[in-house]
């Protein structure tokens, strides 16, 4: 067969969100790839500049449905650092519990999606059934299955009652048992091994070169986890370990995520058992002083960065969100080349892409009919120009 361009997206059954690959294939082998990720620009950063610190937290939680706690926490951590607030340990532990429950539900969801893209729907159905346990726990603790709304600047908004703690602890063993079952299935199910092993290889050097983060990087042997390397909320007090793997393929990424599921379960259990007594928040001032801060958070998909600039008002002057998916995208274009068409969904799914959170820039033509591209130099020139303009007024 001659080389053909296979358009994948913006609408495609394998994609849950809009992205466009133009895959150049020779028969069943991929020889090249063009990528367009910006289909869902929502102007969320601009909207965040219009709201005060109380109203901006719910907005930022809605950057991503799955990592909603990650965005909320990354933001309030940054603002609390600017305001130099001392957050009570009980609030930090509750944040940690919600964060790890979120990581668990995200990883279980991912495992189901990964099984689904290779046509193994049974594991898909089973994992999503068991994910309900984490969703129920989150709902009991925070009131919502998603977009928990537990964070505010200065602490958390809901306390855990002793009843909630015992009920949560009693449900963990069942979940642990199910996770052990998935470990067994992933390690031994022949068709999954065939589809995951040796696919989408990314060496350690490549993983570092393309700036991958999270499980994608850890599966290539990059021992890097913000929770350990730059500990925030309660992670420095909790015994746990970073899961890494050296294989660098989709199978490795699966193993890392499954290992993290088990670690997260341990963290949640520790936090519930050792929940400190005390306040769940401190009153926060209305305004934040002039400052620039980079807040880092280990979201389920990798390192999430919030850059925040405050200017002595009750709202941020600028917030810039770098989602982990954006950091991992470039590695996909590398690991796809010379693979089979059938492996596209597997390799794409292996970084657990969360596309609608990623879109930050869209360059439109005058009448908004076409999108354009910008080189790095053009972009930095544009940035310098607009910051000069801002300084002038």
């Amino acid at each position: 067969m001659p080389q053909v361009i296979l358009p994948i997206g913006p609408q495609h059954p394998a994609l849950k969100e809009p992205v466009n690959f133009k895959v150049i294939v020779d028969g069943e082998t991929i020889v090249g790839l063009e990528l367009d990720v910006s289909y869902t620009h929502r102007g969320i950063e601009k909207a965040a500049e219009q709201r005060d610190f109380i109203r901006v937290v719910p907005l930022l939680e809605r950057v991503c449905g799955i990592c909603s706690h990650a965005h909320g926490t990354a933001f309030v951590m940054g603002i609390e650092e600017v305001m130099q607030l001392e957050i009570p340990p009980r609030a930090q532990y509750i944040r940690t519990i919600v964060a790890e429950l979120e990581r668990m539900h995200s990883h279980i969801l991912w495992l189901g999606v990964a099984a689904h893209v290779v046509g193994f729907n049974t594991l898909f159905m089973w994992t999503w059934r068991d994910r309900e346990t984490t969703q129920d726990l989150l709902e009991e603790m925070t009131g919502n299955r998603m977009n928990y709304g537990i964070n505010e600047v200065g602490g958390v908004r809901r306390d855990l009652t002793p009843g909630q703690i015992t009920s949560a602890l009693s449900r963990l063993p069942k979940l642990e048992e199910q996770i052990a079952k998935y470990v067994d299935m992933v390690m031994n199910q022949e068709t999954m091994l065939l589809r995951f092993r040796g696919i989408g290889k990314l060496s350690k050097a490549e993983a570092l070169k393309y700036g991958t983060v999270g499980p994608t990087a850890r599966a290539s042997g990059v021992d890097y986890d913000i929770r350990r390397d730059d500990p925030y909320i309660a992670y420095s007090e909790i015994p746990w370990k970073v899961v890494t793997d050296t294989s660098g393929d989709v199978f490795g990424r699966t193993l890392v995520r499954i290992g993290e599921l088990q670690e997260s379960l341990g963290i949640i259990r520790y936090c519930l058992e050792h929940l400190p007594e005390g306040q769940i928040g401190v009153p926060a001032p209305k305004v934040a002083p002039v400052a620039e801060i980079l807040s880092r958070y280990e979201a389920p998909r990798g390192e999430l960065v919030h850059f925040i600039r405050t200017n002595n008002t009750d709202r941020v002057e600028r917030i810039d969100i770098r989602t982990p998916t954006l950091a991992n995208w470039t590695s996909v274009t590398v690991s796809l080349v010379n693979q089979n068409i059938a492996d596209i969904p597997v390799i794409v799914a292996a970084i657990d892409p969360c596309l609608s959170c990623t879109s930050r820039i869209t360059i439109l033509s005058e009448r908004g009919r076409k999108t354009a591209e910008m080189t790095w130099d053009q972009l930095s020139e544009y940035g310098r120009k607009s910051s000069r303009e801002r300084d002038r007024c």
């Binding site: 053909v4 495609h12 059954p13 290779v118 046509g119 199910q189 589809r195 059938a342």
Partner: protein, 325 residues
């Protein structure tokens, strides 16, 4: 076996011909989906769901992709369905098929290949890149599983010394099931049937997450309905064929009188055996993911083909020792 023309017409049109065939095809489809759903902790469809889907799709708008050859596009599903339904007439359901002749086994195998060829044609005619890739995959897969599948299904014929499915079934009534004589052939036959019906792990041509629906992508309305029905019918014909060749079909080793009782017993045997085969196929479907076409190529030619050749050698050796033939 000659019959009254009126009885023959009843046989073709009503029982166990087309009317029963369609009803049973919908029922097997329901059962397949229900079993899979229960294994996956889902509720599954109600009894009439496959039939309702069929009726609904018949009523839907038929969309022609731009520049498609309409005649061929309309004809391919009809040809495929006709082939699958005709194949069923030679499968013994309540005793020997009245149409049985020396060589009907070859005819049935040929007719069961036609739906795949129709799928390839549909993919090719669709003028859609997903369909073309899917069509090419379908026909590539055909070349991989068809040889072991044919060889495995021809082995009972070699041993029974007949090319008629009904006579092979009758031979097993006198001796014993070929599933016991030729276990490798039986397993290869089941795997080949799973591949022929494009079920997991062989749903490569219609891999949803890769190429949308493969050759099915541009099918709408009655074309889609007919193609789905073809696959349902092929499931009945295929499992009936395996039941007749390897599990003795509907024929009993002893004679029961009166004849109507023997008919009912035979029919019950047919139902039981095809349902058992469906259960195996559904379990395979639920327990596995989809493999890649190059991996299927490896598995097919390395293991399936070698296993079948081994089975051929064993059958020939047994034949030279005076077993069978």
């Amino acid at each position: 076996m000659l019959m009254d023309p009126l009885l023959l017409a009843v046989y073709i049109l009503i029982f166990p011909g087309f009317l029963f065939l369609l009803a049973y095809a919908f029922f097997l489809q329901y059962l397949d989906r229900k079993i899979a759903a229960r294994m996956q902790q889902r509720v599954g469809p109600p009894l009439l769901q496959p039939f309702a889907d069929f009726i609904k799709m018949l009523g839907k708008e038929v969309i022609d992709p731009a520049g498609v050859d309409r005649m061929a596009f309309d004809a391919a599903p009809v040809v495929a369905l006709a082939a699958a339904m005709t194949a069923f007439l030679y499968i013994p359901v309540v005793g020997e098929s009245p149409f049985a002749f020396q060589g009907d086994l070859v005819l049935v195998l040929y007719l069961l290949t036609l739906p795949t060829i129709a799928l390839f044609l549909l993919g090719w005619l669709s003028r859609n890149v997903f369909s073309s890739v899917g069509g090419v995959r379908a026909v590539t897969m055909l070349f991989i599983y068809e040889v072991p599948f044919f060889l495995a299904l021809l082995m009972p014929a070699l041993m029974a010394g007949s090319w008629s499915i009904s006579e092979i079934a009758a031979w097993q009534g006198k001796h014993t099931w070929f599933a016991l004589f030729q276990p490798i052939g039986f397993v290869v036959g089941l795997i080949g049937l799973q591949a022929k019906l494009e079920r997991q792990p062989f749903d490569i041509p219609e891999a949803e997450t890769e190429i949308v629906a493969g050759p099915w992508t541009e099918l709408t309305g009655r074309r889609l309905a007919l193609m789905h029905l073809t696959m349902h019918v092929a499931l009945v014909a295929g499992s009936g064929l395996i039941a007749a060749l390897f599990l003795g079909g509907p024929l009993l080793p002893w004679t029961i009188s009166p004849p109507w009782l023997s008919w009912i017993a035979g029919f019950a045997m047919f139902l039981g055996k095809t349902l058992a085969i469906l259960l195996i196929l559904a379990s395979i479907k639920v327990a596995m993911g989809r493999i890649r076409i190059d991996q299927l190529n490896d598995i097919g030619w390395k293991y399936l083909a070698s296993a079948t050749i081994l089975q051929v050698a064993i059958v020939l050796l047994m034949g030279s020792r005076g077993v069978g033939i």
